[in-house]
Protein backbone atom coordinates (compact mmCIF):
# COMPACT_ATOMS: atom_id res chain seq x y z
CA UNK A 1 0.00 0.00 0.00
CA UNK A 2 2.74 2.45 0.98
CA UNK A 3 4.49 1.61 -2.28
CA UNK A 4 1.44 2.67 -4.22
CA UNK A 5 1.12 5.81 -2.12
CA UNK A 6 4.74 6.81 -2.76
CA UNK A 7 4.34 6.08 -6.46
CA UNK A 8 1.04 7.93 -6.79
CA UNK A 9 2.36 11.35 -7.89
CA UNK A 10 4.32 9.63 -10.64
CA UNK A 11 1.43 7.33 -11.56
CA UNK A 12 -0.99 10.27 -11.78
CA UNK A 13 1.51 12.06 -14.02
CA UNK A 14 1.95 8.91 -16.08
CA UNK A 15 -1.81 8.56 -16.57
CA UNK A 16 -2.34 12.23 -17.46
CA UNK A 17 0.77 13.07 -19.45
CA UNK A 18 1.76 9.71 -20.94
CA UNK A 19 -0.97 7.06 -20.98
CA UNK A 20 -3.87 9.29 -22.04
CA UNK A 21 -1.78 11.13 -24.68
CA UNK A 22 -0.55 7.81 -26.10
CA UNK A 23 -4.14 6.66 -26.55
CA UNK A 24 -5.34 10.01 -27.85
CA UNK A 25 -2.45 10.23 -30.27
CA UNK A 26 -3.27 6.77 -31.63
CA UNK A 27 -6.90 7.83 -32.05
CA UNK A 28 -5.94 11.11 -33.78
CA UNK A 29 -3.74 9.19 -36.18
CA UNK A 30 -6.90 7.73 -37.73
CA UNK A 31 -8.62 11.09 -38.11
CA UNK A 32 -8.54 14.31 -40.04
CA UNK A 33 -8.05 16.88 -37.31
CA UNK A 34 -6.92 20.50 -37.37
CA UNK A 35 -7.52 21.41 -33.69
CA UNK A 36 -10.32 23.85 -34.55
CA UNK A 37 -12.96 21.42 -35.75
CA UNK A 38 -13.62 18.07 -34.13
CA UNK A 39 -11.77 15.11 -35.64
CA UNK A 40 -13.34 13.06 -38.44
CA UNK A 41 -12.48 9.40 -38.97
CA UNK A 42 -10.38 8.72 -42.06
CA UNK A 43 -9.17 5.18 -41.39
CA UNK A 44 -5.64 4.48 -42.54
CA UNK A 45 -5.36 7.57 -44.77
CA UNK A 46 -2.75 9.25 -42.57
CA UNK A 47 -0.55 6.17 -42.55
CA UNK A 48 -0.93 5.91 -46.31
CA UNK A 49 0.18 9.53 -46.50
CA UNK A 50 3.19 8.81 -44.26
CA UNK A 51 4.37 5.99 -46.51
CA UNK A 52 3.67 7.77 -49.79
CA UNK A 53 4.80 11.33 -49.09
CA UNK A 54 8.22 12.16 -50.52
CA UNK A 55 8.99 14.64 -47.75
CA UNK A 56 8.46 11.96 -45.11
CA UNK A 57 10.93 9.66 -46.86
CA UNK A 58 13.35 12.54 -47.23
CA UNK A 59 13.06 13.24 -43.50
CA UNK A 60 13.54 9.56 -42.67
CA UNK A 61 16.70 9.42 -44.78
CA UNK A 62 18.03 12.61 -43.16
CA UNK A 63 17.24 11.30 -39.68
CA UNK A 64 18.83 7.91 -40.33
CA UNK A 65 21.94 9.71 -41.56
CA UNK A 66 22.23 11.40 -38.15
CA UNK A 67 21.37 8.24 -36.21
CA UNK A 68 23.91 6.17 -38.14
CA UNK A 69 26.76 8.68 -38.15
CA UNK A 70 26.25 11.20 -35.35
CA UNK A 71 25.58 8.56 -32.66
CA UNK A 72 28.83 6.61 -33.21
CA UNK A 73 30.85 9.81 -33.70
CA UNK A 74 29.63 11.19 -30.36
CA UNK A 75 30.29 7.87 -28.62
CA UNK A 76 33.78 7.51 -30.10
CA UNK A 77 34.76 11.11 -29.33
CA UNK A 78 33.35 10.74 -25.81
CA UNK A 79 35.27 7.53 -25.23
CA UNK A 80 38.47 8.91 -26.74
CA UNK A 81 38.36 11.98 -24.51
CA UNK A 82 37.57 9.85 -21.45
CA UNK A 83 40.48 7.56 -22.29
CA UNK A 84 42.81 10.60 -22.53
CA UNK A 85 41.53 11.93 -19.20
CA UNK A 86 42.12 8.57 -17.58
CA UNK A 87 45.89 8.83 -18.06
CA UNK A 88 47.70 9.83 -14.88
CA UNK A 89 49.22 13.20 -15.76
CA UNK A 90 49.02 16.58 -14.10
CA UNK A 91 46.33 19.11 -14.96
CA UNK A 92 43.63 16.56 -15.78
CA UNK A 93 40.91 18.52 -13.97
CA UNK A 94 41.61 21.53 -16.20
CA UNK A 95 41.48 19.42 -19.38
CA UNK A 96 38.30 17.76 -18.11
CA UNK A 97 36.65 21.15 -17.57
CA UNK A 98 37.67 22.32 -21.05
CA UNK A 99 36.28 19.18 -22.71
CA UNK A 100 33.10 19.23 -20.66
CA UNK A 101 31.97 22.87 -20.87
CA UNK A 102 30.86 22.80 -24.55
CA UNK A 103 28.35 20.07 -23.68
CA UNK A 104 26.49 22.33 -21.25
CA UNK A 105 26.20 25.26 -23.65
CA UNK A 106 22.46 25.40 -24.48
CA UNK A 107 21.57 23.90 -27.88
CA UNK A 108 20.36 27.19 -29.33
CA UNK A 109 23.57 28.99 -28.34
CA UNK A 110 25.66 26.08 -29.65
CA UNK A 111 23.94 26.28 -33.03
CA UNK A 112 24.48 30.02 -33.15
CA UNK A 113 28.17 29.73 -32.33
CA UNK A 114 28.69 26.99 -34.91
CA UNK A 115 26.84 28.87 -37.62
CA UNK A 116 29.44 31.55 -37.17
CA UNK A 117 32.38 29.16 -36.78
CA UNK A 118 31.28 27.46 -40.02
CA UNK A 119 30.67 30.68 -41.91
CA UNK A 120 32.07 29.92 -45.38
CA UNK A 121 33.91 33.23 -45.81
CA UNK A 122 35.29 34.25 -42.46
CA UNK A 123 34.42 31.33 -40.20
CA UNK A 124 37.09 29.84 -38.02
CA UNK A 125 37.17 26.45 -39.74
CA UNK A 126 37.35 27.65 -43.31
CA UNK A 127 39.94 30.27 -42.36
CA UNK A 128 42.05 27.53 -40.81
CA UNK A 129 41.54 25.28 -43.86
CA UNK A 130 42.44 28.21 -46.10
CA UNK A 131 45.67 28.64 -44.13
CA UNK A 132 46.79 25.13 -45.09
CA UNK A 133 45.62 25.63 -48.66
CA UNK A 134 42.30 23.81 -48.60
CA UNK A 135 39.17 25.55 -49.81
CA UNK A 136 36.57 24.78 -47.16
CA UNK A 137 33.03 23.81 -48.13
CA UNK A 138 30.02 26.08 -47.94
CA UNK A 139 28.99 24.25 -44.78
CA UNK A 140 25.50 25.53 -44.10
CA UNK A 141 24.33 26.20 -47.63
CA UNK A 142 25.64 23.13 -49.42
CA UNK A 143 23.19 20.24 -48.90
CA UNK A 144 26.08 17.76 -48.82
CA UNK A 145 27.72 19.52 -45.87
CA UNK A 146 24.82 20.57 -43.62
CA UNK A 147 24.60 17.23 -41.82
CA UNK A 148 28.37 16.82 -41.36
CA UNK A 149 28.24 20.30 -39.80
CA UNK A 150 25.63 19.06 -37.31
CA UNK A 151 27.73 15.96 -36.57
CA UNK A 152 30.70 18.22 -35.85
CA UNK A 153 28.49 20.18 -33.46
CA UNK A 154 27.44 16.95 -31.80
CA UNK A 155 31.06 15.85 -31.37
CA UNK A 156 31.88 19.20 -29.78
CA UNK A 157 29.17 18.51 -27.20
CA UNK A 158 30.32 14.96 -26.41
CA UNK A 159 31.40 16.03 -22.91
CA UNK A 160 28.35 14.52 -21.24
CA UNK A 161 29.07 11.15 -22.82
CA UNK A 162 32.73 11.58 -21.88
CA UNK A 163 31.95 12.08 -18.19
CA UNK A 164 29.93 8.86 -18.01
CA UNK A 165 32.65 6.92 -19.85
CA UNK A 166 35.31 8.41 -17.58
CA UNK A 167 33.46 7.20 -14.47
CA UNK A 168 33.23 3.75 -16.06
CA UNK A 169 36.92 3.68 -17.03
CA UNK A 170 37.99 4.63 -13.53
CA UNK A 171 36.03 1.65 -12.28
CA UNK A 172 37.82 -0.95 -14.38
CA UNK A 173 39.79 -3.03 -11.84
CA UNK A 174 43.54 -2.23 -12.03
CA UNK A 175 44.35 -5.89 -11.35
CA UNK A 176 42.95 -6.86 -14.76
CA UNK A 177 45.40 -4.55 -16.53
CA UNK A 178 48.30 -5.67 -14.36
CA UNK A 179 47.81 -9.34 -15.13
CA UNK A 180 47.44 -8.55 -18.84
CA UNK A 181 50.70 -6.58 -18.71
CA UNK A 182 52.47 -9.56 -17.20
CA UNK A 183 51.14 -11.61 -20.10
CA UNK A 184 52.77 -9.05 -22.38
CA UNK A 185 49.60 -7.43 -23.72
CA UNK A 186 50.12 -4.12 -25.54
CA UNK A 187 47.98 -1.00 -25.30
CA UNK A 188 45.62 -1.94 -28.09
CA UNK A 189 45.10 -5.47 -26.82
CA UNK A 190 44.44 -4.19 -23.29
CA UNK A 191 41.87 -1.75 -24.65
CA UNK A 192 40.15 -4.36 -26.81
CA UNK A 193 40.27 -7.27 -24.37
CA UNK A 194 39.81 -5.54 -21.03
CA UNK A 195 38.54 -1.97 -21.31
CA UNK A 196 35.86 -2.48 -23.95
CA UNK A 197 34.28 -5.62 -22.44
CA UNK A 198 34.29 -4.13 -18.94
CA UNK A 199 32.57 -0.93 -19.97
CA UNK A 200 30.29 -2.59 -22.54
CA UNK A 201 27.13 -2.14 -20.41
CA UNK A 202 27.80 1.62 -20.43
CA UNK A 203 28.39 1.58 -24.16
CA UNK A 204 25.00 -0.10 -24.54
CA UNK A 205 23.34 2.51 -22.31
CA UNK A 206 24.96 5.43 -24.15
CA UNK A 207 24.21 3.89 -27.53
CA UNK A 208 20.51 3.65 -26.74
CA UNK A 209 20.32 7.15 -25.24
CA UNK A 210 22.22 8.47 -28.28
CA UNK A 211 19.90 6.76 -30.77
CA UNK A 212 16.85 8.13 -29.00
CA UNK A 213 18.32 11.63 -29.04
CA UNK A 214 19.09 11.55 -32.75
CA UNK A 215 15.77 9.96 -33.75
CA UNK A 216 14.15 13.02 -32.13
CA UNK A 217 16.77 15.50 -33.35
CA UNK A 218 15.18 18.92 -33.43
CA UNK A 219 16.48 22.16 -31.89
CA UNK A 220 19.88 22.47 -33.58
CA UNK A 221 18.54 21.62 -37.03
CA UNK A 222 15.49 23.85 -36.55
CA UNK A 223 17.83 26.71 -35.75
CA UNK A 224 20.08 26.06 -38.75
CA UNK A 225 17.15 25.60 -41.11
CA UNK A 226 15.51 28.88 -40.13
CA UNK A 227 18.82 30.59 -40.73
CA UNK A 228 19.58 29.82 -44.34
CA UNK A 229 17.96 32.61 -46.31
CA UNK A 230 16.63 30.42 -49.10
CA UNK A 231 13.01 30.90 -48.18
CA UNK A 232 13.27 27.94 -45.87
CA UNK A 233 11.85 29.83 -42.89
CA UNK A 234 8.47 28.51 -44.02
CA UNK A 235 9.54 25.01 -44.96
CA UNK A 236 12.07 24.61 -42.11
CA UNK A 237 13.97 22.28 -44.37
CA UNK A 238 17.33 23.88 -45.04
CA UNK A 239 19.13 23.83 -48.41
CA UNK A 240 17.47 21.26 -50.70
CA UNK A 241 15.62 19.89 -47.67
CA UNK A 242 18.89 18.52 -46.29
CA UNK A 243 17.87 19.61 -42.77
CA UNK A 244 14.35 18.27 -42.93
CA UNK A 245 14.49 15.83 -40.03
CA UNK A 246 11.62 13.67 -38.91
CA UNK A 247 10.88 15.66 -35.74
CA UNK A 248 10.96 18.91 -37.72
CA UNK A 249 8.53 17.69 -40.37
CA UNK A 250 6.29 16.35 -37.60
CA UNK A 251 6.37 19.72 -35.83
CA UNK A 252 5.60 21.49 -39.10
CA UNK A 253 2.66 19.23 -39.92
CA UNK A 254 1.23 19.70 -36.42
CA UNK A 255 1.90 23.30 -35.47
CA UNK A 256 2.42 25.14 -38.74
CA UNK A 257 -0.03 23.35 -41.04
CA UNK A 258 -2.33 22.03 -38.29
CA UNK A 259 -2.57 18.54 -39.72
CA UNK A 260 -2.76 16.72 -36.42
CA UNK A 261 -3.75 13.45 -38.08
CA UNK A 262 -0.62 13.40 -40.24
CA UNK A 263 1.58 14.37 -37.31
CA UNK A 264 0.05 11.76 -34.98
CA UNK A 265 0.54 9.02 -37.55
CA UNK A 266 4.15 10.15 -37.95
CA UNK A 267 4.61 10.06 -34.17
CA UNK A 268 3.36 6.48 -34.05
CA UNK A 269 5.60 5.41 -36.89
CA UNK A 270 8.52 6.96 -34.99
CA UNK A 271 7.44 5.14 -31.84
CA UNK A 272 7.40 1.81 -33.69
CA UNK A 273 10.78 2.46 -35.35
CA UNK A 274 12.52 3.44 -32.09
CA UNK A 275 10.96 0.48 -30.26
CA UNK A 276 12.07 -1.98 -32.94
CA UNK A 277 15.60 -0.57 -33.07
CA UNK A 278 15.95 -0.52 -29.27
CA UNK A 279 14.60 -4.06 -29.03
CA UNK A 280 16.96 -5.26 -31.75
CA UNK A 281 19.93 -3.72 -29.96
CA UNK A 282 18.94 -5.30 -26.66
CA UNK A 283 18.51 -8.67 -28.36
CA UNK A 284 21.95 -8.57 -29.96
CA UNK A 285 23.55 -7.01 -26.90
CA UNK A 286 24.12 -10.34 -25.17
CA UNK A 287 26.68 -11.05 -27.88
CA UNK A 288 28.84 -8.04 -27.08
CA UNK A 289 27.84 -6.80 -23.63
CA UNK A 290 29.42 -8.58 -20.66
CA UNK A 291 28.14 -8.10 -17.17
CA UNK A 292 30.92 -8.73 -14.67
CA UNK A 293 29.98 -10.88 -11.67
CA UNK A 294 29.81 -8.96 -8.41
Amino acid sequence: MTGLLFSSPFLIGFALFTLYPIGASLAYSFTDFNMFKSPTWVGLDNYRWVFQEDEVWKSIRNTLYMVLFATPVSLIVGLLLAQLLNIKVRGQSIYRTLFYIPSIVPAIATSLVWMWVLNPKSGLINTALDFIGIRGPNWLLDPVWTKPALILMGAWGAGGTMIIFLAALQDVPKSLYESAEIDGAGKIRKFANITLPTISPIILFQLIMGLITYFQYFAQAFMLASMSNSGSVQTMAGPEKSLLFYAILLYREAFVDFRMGHASAMAWVLFVITSVVTYAIFRTSNRWVTYGGD
Partner: protein, 289 residues
Protein backbone atom coordinates in the same frame (compact mmCIF):
# COMPACT_ATOMS: atom_id res chain seq x y z
CA UNK B 1 58.71 -9.65 -6.86
CA UNK B 2 59.98 -11.62 -9.82
CA UNK B 3 62.79 -10.22 -11.90
CA UNK B 4 60.49 -10.08 -14.93
CA UNK B 5 58.10 -7.72 -13.24
CA UNK B 6 60.86 -5.47 -11.90
CA UNK B 7 62.35 -5.27 -15.37
CA UNK B 8 58.91 -4.35 -16.57
CA UNK B 9 58.53 -1.52 -14.07
CA UNK B 10 61.99 -0.20 -15.01
CA UNK B 11 60.94 -0.07 -18.64
CA UNK B 12 57.79 1.75 -17.56
CA UNK B 13 59.80 4.40 -15.72
CA UNK B 14 62.14 4.97 -18.64
CA UNK B 15 59.27 5.38 -21.09
CA UNK B 16 57.37 7.57 -18.63
CA UNK B 17 58.77 10.92 -19.75
CA UNK B 18 58.02 10.45 -23.43
CA UNK B 19 54.62 8.99 -22.68
CA UNK B 20 53.71 11.90 -20.44
CA UNK B 21 54.81 14.33 -23.11
CA UNK B 22 52.69 12.62 -25.76
CA UNK B 23 49.69 12.53 -23.42
CA UNK B 24 50.00 16.25 -22.71
CA UNK B 25 50.38 16.98 -26.41
CA UNK B 26 47.14 15.14 -27.20
CA UNK B 27 45.29 16.68 -24.26
CA UNK B 28 46.45 20.17 -25.20
CA UNK B 29 45.53 19.71 -28.86
CA UNK B 30 42.01 18.59 -27.94
CA UNK B 31 41.67 21.39 -25.41
CA UNK B 32 42.45 23.92 -28.13
CA UNK B 33 39.87 22.33 -30.44
CA UNK B 34 37.19 22.34 -27.74
CA UNK B 35 37.90 25.79 -26.33
CA UNK B 36 38.37 27.69 -29.59
CA UNK B 37 34.69 28.02 -30.59
CA UNK B 38 33.94 29.57 -27.19
CA UNK B 39 36.89 31.95 -27.42
CA UNK B 40 35.83 32.82 -30.96
CA UNK B 41 32.33 33.55 -29.65
CA UNK B 42 33.72 35.89 -27.00
CA UNK B 43 36.10 37.66 -29.37
CA UNK B 44 33.38 38.12 -31.99
CA UNK B 45 31.02 39.54 -29.40
CA UNK B 46 33.26 42.59 -28.95
CA UNK B 47 34.08 43.18 -32.61
CA UNK B 48 32.79 45.97 -34.79
CA UNK B 49 30.79 44.94 -37.85
CA UNK B 50 33.75 45.90 -40.06
CA UNK B 51 36.06 43.52 -38.24
CA UNK B 52 33.67 40.59 -38.70
CA UNK B 53 34.68 39.74 -42.25
CA UNK B 54 38.23 41.12 -42.19
CA UNK B 55 40.86 39.06 -43.95
CA UNK B 56 43.11 37.99 -42.27
CA UNK B 57 40.67 37.58 -39.36
CA UNK B 58 40.96 39.95 -36.42
CA UNK B 59 42.10 37.82 -33.51
CA UNK B 60 41.57 40.54 -30.98
CA UNK B 61 39.70 43.74 -31.78
CA UNK B 62 41.71 46.95 -31.31
CA UNK B 63 38.82 48.80 -29.77
CA UNK B 64 36.64 46.23 -28.03
CA UNK B 65 33.03 47.15 -28.67
CA UNK B 66 31.37 46.36 -25.36
CA UNK B 67 28.41 48.32 -26.71
CA UNK B 68 27.37 45.14 -28.54
CA UNK B 69 26.17 43.84 -25.19
CA UNK B 70 24.32 47.06 -24.44
CA UNK B 71 22.72 46.89 -27.90
CA UNK B 72 21.34 43.43 -27.13
CA UNK B 73 19.74 44.84 -23.99
CA UNK B 74 18.08 47.54 -26.07
CA UNK B 75 16.48 45.08 -28.48
CA UNK B 76 15.43 42.26 -26.20
CA UNK B 77 14.33 42.30 -22.59
CA UNK B 78 17.28 40.29 -21.40
CA UNK B 79 16.72 40.58 -17.62
CA UNK B 80 13.05 39.69 -18.09
CA UNK B 81 13.85 36.62 -20.17
CA UNK B 82 16.54 35.54 -17.74
CA UNK B 83 14.00 35.75 -14.94
CA UNK B 84 11.43 33.77 -16.97
CA UNK B 85 13.98 31.07 -17.71
CA UNK B 86 15.07 30.96 -14.10
CA UNK B 87 11.47 30.72 -12.91
CA UNK B 88 10.59 27.84 -15.22
CA UNK B 89 13.84 26.00 -14.45
CA UNK B 90 13.66 26.47 -10.69
CA UNK B 91 10.00 25.42 -10.46
CA UNK B 92 10.67 22.35 -12.59
CA UNK B 93 13.55 21.37 -10.31
CA UNK B 94 11.39 21.81 -7.21
CA UNK B 95 8.59 19.76 -8.79
CA UNK B 96 10.79 16.85 -9.79
CA UNK B 97 12.69 16.86 -6.50
CA UNK B 98 9.41 16.58 -4.61
CA UNK B 99 7.85 13.81 -6.69
CA UNK B 100 10.69 11.78 -8.24
CA UNK B 101 12.49 10.56 -5.08
CA UNK B 102 9.15 9.24 -3.77
CA UNK B 103 8.64 6.90 -6.70
CA UNK B 104 12.35 6.05 -6.77
CA UNK B 105 12.03 4.96 -3.14
CA UNK B 106 8.94 2.88 -3.96
CA UNK B 107 11.01 1.19 -6.69
CA UNK B 108 13.93 0.39 -4.41
CA UNK B 109 13.43 -0.16 -0.68
CA UNK B 110 9.70 -0.68 -0.28
CA UNK B 111 8.56 -4.28 -0.79
CA UNK B 112 5.22 -4.25 -2.55
CA UNK B 113 3.52 -6.00 -5.43
CA UNK B 114 3.63 -3.17 -7.96
CA UNK B 115 7.33 -2.42 -7.48
CA UNK B 116 8.60 -4.06 -10.67
CA UNK B 117 5.67 -2.85 -12.75
CA UNK B 118 6.19 0.76 -11.72
CA UNK B 119 9.91 0.53 -12.43
CA UNK B 120 9.19 -0.97 -15.85
CA UNK B 121 6.86 1.98 -16.53
CA UNK B 122 9.63 4.41 -15.56
CA UNK B 123 12.03 2.74 -18.02
CA UNK B 124 9.29 2.65 -20.65
CA UNK B 125 8.77 6.41 -20.45
CA UNK B 126 12.51 6.83 -21.09
CA UNK B 127 12.15 5.13 -24.44
CA UNK B 128 8.93 6.85 -25.48
CA UNK B 129 9.51 9.62 -28.05
CA UNK B 130 8.34 13.05 -26.88
CA UNK B 131 6.52 13.45 -30.20
CA UNK B 132 3.98 10.75 -29.30
CA UNK B 133 2.57 12.63 -26.33
CA UNK B 134 3.26 16.15 -27.63
CA UNK B 135 0.06 16.73 -29.63
CA UNK B 136 -2.61 15.41 -27.22
CA UNK B 137 -0.85 17.15 -24.33
CA UNK B 138 -0.88 20.39 -26.29
CA UNK B 139 -4.59 19.95 -26.98
CA UNK B 140 -5.34 19.34 -23.28
CA UNK B 141 -3.57 22.56 -22.30
CA UNK B 142 -5.37 24.33 -25.12
CA UNK B 143 -8.78 23.18 -23.84
CA UNK B 144 -7.84 24.36 -20.36
CA UNK B 145 -6.88 27.74 -21.81
CA UNK B 146 -3.37 27.51 -20.43
CA UNK B 147 -1.32 27.93 -23.59
CA UNK B 148 0.76 31.05 -23.28
CA UNK B 149 1.31 30.42 -19.56
CA UNK B 150 4.09 28.61 -17.72
CA UNK B 151 1.71 25.95 -16.39
CA UNK B 152 2.33 23.46 -19.26
CA UNK B 153 6.08 23.87 -18.78
CA UNK B 154 6.11 23.54 -15.00
CA UNK B 155 3.14 21.54 -13.72
CA UNK B 156 4.13 18.18 -15.30
CA UNK B 157 7.38 18.29 -13.28
CA UNK B 158 5.38 18.04 -10.04
CA UNK B 159 4.13 14.63 -11.12
CA UNK B 160 7.52 13.64 -12.57
CA UNK B 161 6.18 13.60 -16.14
CA UNK B 162 9.14 13.34 -18.49
CA UNK B 163 11.51 12.78 -15.56
CA UNK B 164 12.16 9.08 -16.20
CA UNK B 165 15.90 9.53 -16.48
CA UNK B 166 16.10 11.31 -13.11
CA UNK B 167 13.89 8.74 -11.38
CA UNK B 168 16.20 6.08 -12.78
CA UNK B 169 19.30 7.90 -11.44
CA UNK B 170 17.72 8.33 -7.99
CA UNK B 171 16.58 4.72 -7.86
CA UNK B 172 20.04 3.43 -8.82
CA UNK B 173 21.52 5.51 -6.01
CA UNK B 174 18.95 4.35 -3.47
CA UNK B 175 19.79 0.75 -4.37
CA UNK B 176 23.36 1.35 -3.20
CA UNK B 177 22.15 2.26 0.31
CA UNK B 178 22.19 -0.72 2.68
CA UNK B 179 18.78 -2.34 3.09
CA UNK B 180 19.76 -3.29 6.64
CA UNK B 181 19.62 0.37 7.64
CA UNK B 182 16.02 0.63 6.50
CA UNK B 183 15.14 -2.76 7.97
CA UNK B 184 16.50 -1.68 11.35
CA UNK B 185 14.37 1.47 11.30
CA UNK B 186 11.31 -0.60 10.38
CA UNK B 187 11.91 -2.95 13.30
CA UNK B 188 12.08 0.12 15.55
CA UNK B 189 8.58 0.92 14.31
CA UNK B 190 9.36 3.87 12.04
CA UNK B 191 6.82 4.51 9.30
CA UNK B 192 7.88 4.48 5.63
CA UNK B 193 7.37 8.23 5.53
CA UNK B 194 9.65 8.76 8.52
CA UNK B 195 12.29 6.45 7.07
CA UNK B 196 12.05 8.34 3.80
CA UNK B 197 12.31 11.78 5.37
CA UNK B 198 14.74 11.10 8.21
CA UNK B 199 17.01 8.35 6.88
CA UNK B 200 16.84 8.22 3.10
CA UNK B 201 16.72 11.94 2.30
CA UNK B 202 19.69 12.99 4.48
CA UNK B 203 21.78 10.17 2.97
CA UNK B 204 20.77 11.16 -0.54
CA UNK B 205 21.81 14.80 -0.51
CA UNK B 206 24.57 14.30 -3.12
CA UNK B 207 22.30 12.60 -5.66
CA UNK B 208 19.48 15.08 -5.02
CA UNK B 209 21.94 17.90 -5.73
CA UNK B 210 23.14 16.17 -8.90
CA UNK B 211 19.63 15.59 -10.21
CA UNK B 212 18.73 19.18 -9.35
CA UNK B 213 21.70 20.60 -11.23
CA UNK B 214 21.29 18.39 -14.32
CA UNK B 215 17.57 19.09 -14.48
CA UNK B 216 18.12 22.82 -14.08
CA UNK B 217 20.55 22.72 -16.99
CA UNK B 218 18.12 20.72 -19.14
CA UNK B 219 15.20 23.09 -18.46
CA UNK B 220 17.37 26.17 -18.90
CA UNK B 221 18.38 24.93 -22.39
CA UNK B 222 14.98 23.56 -23.44
CA UNK B 223 13.73 24.92 -26.74
CA UNK B 224 10.81 22.81 -27.94
CA UNK B 225 8.72 23.28 -24.78
CA UNK B 226 8.85 27.10 -24.81
CA UNK B 227 8.44 27.09 -28.61
CA UNK B 228 5.18 25.17 -28.25
CA UNK B 229 3.68 26.93 -25.27
CA UNK B 230 4.88 30.53 -25.12
CA UNK B 231 3.59 33.06 -27.59
CA UNK B 232 4.08 36.44 -25.91
CA UNK B 233 7.51 37.92 -26.26
CA UNK B 234 7.43 39.12 -22.67
CA UNK B 235 7.03 35.51 -21.49
CA UNK B 236 9.87 34.11 -23.63
CA UNK B 237 12.64 32.08 -22.11
CA UNK B 238 16.20 32.75 -23.26
CA UNK B 239 16.23 29.89 -25.83
CA UNK B 240 13.17 31.26 -27.51
CA UNK B 241 14.31 34.87 -27.13
CA UNK B 242 17.65 34.06 -28.73
CA UNK B 243 15.90 32.27 -31.58
CA UNK B 244 13.62 35.25 -32.19
CA UNK B 245 16.57 37.63 -31.93
CA UNK B 246 18.46 35.60 -34.53
CA UNK B 247 15.60 35.78 -36.98
CA UNK B 248 15.63 39.56 -36.94
CA UNK B 249 19.41 40.11 -36.67
CA UNK B 250 20.83 37.25 -38.65
CA UNK B 251 23.67 39.14 -40.23
CA UNK B 252 24.76 41.06 -37.14
CA UNK B 253 27.00 38.32 -35.87
CA UNK B 254 28.72 40.49 -33.27
CA UNK B 255 25.38 41.12 -31.56
CA UNK B 256 24.24 37.52 -31.93
CA UNK B 257 27.48 36.37 -30.30
CA UNK B 258 27.03 38.87 -27.47
CA UNK B 259 23.51 37.52 -26.91
CA UNK B 260 24.73 33.90 -27.05
CA UNK B 261 27.47 34.70 -24.54
CA UNK B 262 24.98 36.23 -22.12
CA UNK B 263 22.65 33.27 -22.54
CA UNK B 264 25.43 30.80 -21.73
CA UNK B 265 27.11 32.73 -18.92
CA UNK B 266 24.70 31.68 -16.12
CA UNK B 267 25.27 28.02 -17.05
CA UNK B 268 29.04 28.45 -16.89
CA UNK B 269 28.70 30.18 -13.50
CA UNK B 270 26.46 27.33 -12.31
CA UNK B 271 29.08 24.88 -13.54
CA UNK B 272 31.85 26.45 -11.50
CA UNK B 273 29.71 26.49 -8.38
CA UNK B 274 28.41 22.95 -8.86
CA UNK B 275 31.34 21.30 -10.57
CA UNK B 276 31.14 18.33 -8.26
CA UNK B 277 27.51 17.66 -9.14
CA UNK B 278 28.20 17.90 -12.86
CA UNK B 279 31.39 15.89 -12.95
CA UNK B 280 31.18 13.42 -10.11
CA UNK B 281 27.42 13.09 -9.74
CA UNK B 282 27.29 10.35 -12.30
CA UNK B 283 29.51 8.18 -10.13
CA UNK B 284 26.83 8.17 -7.43
CA UNK B 285 24.45 6.23 -9.57
CA UNK B 286 24.64 2.74 -10.95
CA UNK B 287 24.63 4.14 -14.48
CA UNK B 288 28.36 3.66 -14.85
CA UNK B 289 28.17 -0.07 -14.26
Amino acid sequence: MSSASSAFSRRLRRGGGVRRFVSHAFLTAFSVVFATPILWLLVTSIKSDKELYANPPVLFPKNPRWENYADVFKVIDFPGMTWNTFLVSALSVVGVLISAPLVAYACSHIEWRGKNIVFAIVIGTLLLPYQVTMIPTYIIWGKLGLIGTYVPLVLPAFVSAGAGYYIFMLRQFFMTLPASLIQAAKIDGASELRIYLQILMPLSKPIIATVGVLLFLATWSDFLGPLLYLNNEKDYTLSLGLYAFMQTHYIMWEKLMAAAAMFTLPIIVLFFFAQKQFIEGIKLTGIKG
